[in-house]
């Protein structure tokens, strides 16, 4: 049952990304180009998503368990450290360079030619690099 909802959530997430313009790298760059000709559309994406999200997470927190009766595990990490900030800055640099963040890249993987595939390959390598680096350090 959970697997069906996971697939459904992935599909709806992707439809939202496509409809919103997030899968268009030129539009993402237009949103990030605040000193040039700025396209504020993508602020509405985050606004719309958070509008629903606020209610969903409030209900989740109140219930403590899912509709299917399982525990809800929400992140409890509150630490604001260098890893968080530097990681987010590195992510933002890659996002601005390409116009892709992880969701839209996957939603473009089979429909936007080689560009999304190359980006996704790089992203998976990046995830692996950090995990290896982190496990050796720790």
């Amino acid at each position: 049952m959970q697997l069906i909802f996971a697939a459904l959530s992935g599909i709806i997430f992707g439809l939202g990304l496509i409809l919103s313009g997030m899968t268009n790298p030129a539009k993402v760059k237009g949103f990030l180009d605040i000193t040039g000709l700025w396209d504020p559309s993508l602020a509405f994406v985050m606004g719309g998503a958070i509008l629903i999200g606020i209610f969903a997470f409030a209900i989740a927190k109140k219930r403590g368990e899912t509709i299917l009766g399982e525990n809800i595990m929400l992140p409890d990490n509150k630490q604001i450290d260098r890893k968080l900030v530097i990681g987010a800055l590195i992510f933002g640099a890659g996002w601005g360079l390409s116009g892709y963040c992880p969701g839209p890249a996957i939603a473009s993987l089979f429909s936007a030619g080689v560009q999304a595939a190359i980006f996704t390959a790089g992203m998976l390598v990046g995830i692996a690099i950090y995990k290896v680096f982190n496990s050796r350090k720790g």
Binding site: G10, I52, S98, A128
Partner: protein
């Protein structure tokens, strides 16, 4: 700052955002999980709970074909060269893994939960995105 009215699509973007919120709501209320794409990707291999992650990612990857059944896909434009895309991908992979989240995990789910940590992450990646586009479009380009 000048607004790019020609490309401004507030209604479609808002509607898309509502769908993204709905997807996050389904995942947390039925599965008890956070719809954070970078985290889901990071757990595809060597994770005890890999099955739901694979199904979410497959759903996300096939969504354009489902969209295409109802409506033609919106046109996209990507002028970034392949080497830059590859480097950007590596940066996104490293950065989202180090900071434990991306636009969805921190930007949508984290902010919806009122997480200060996610707010700091979101301000950080947005700022870096602004700077990257400024450098590429206005300093170099």
């Amino acid at each position: 700052m000048a607004i790019d009215w020609a490309h401004f699509t507030p209604l479609a973007s808002l509607a898309g955002g509502l769908l993204i919120g709905l997807a996050a709501a389904i995942l947390v209320l039925f599965n008890g999980k956070i719809a954070g794409i970078s985290g889901i990707l990071g757990g595809l291999i060597a994770s005890k709970q890999a099955a739901w992650r694979w199904l979410f990612i497959i759903g996300l990857a096939i969504s354009p074909f489902i969209y295409g059944l109802v409506h033609s896909l919106p046109s996209t434009e990507n002028q970034t060269s392949l080497p830059v895309l590859l480097i950007a991908g590596v940066l996104v992979g490293i950065g989202t893994t180090a900071s434990s989240g991306c636009t969805s995990g921190h930007g949508v789910c984290g902010l919806s939960r009122g997480s200060l940590r996610s707010l700091v992450a979101t301000i950080s990646f947005m700022s870096a995105g602004f700077v990257a586009v400024f450098v590429v479009s206005h300093l170099i380009g």
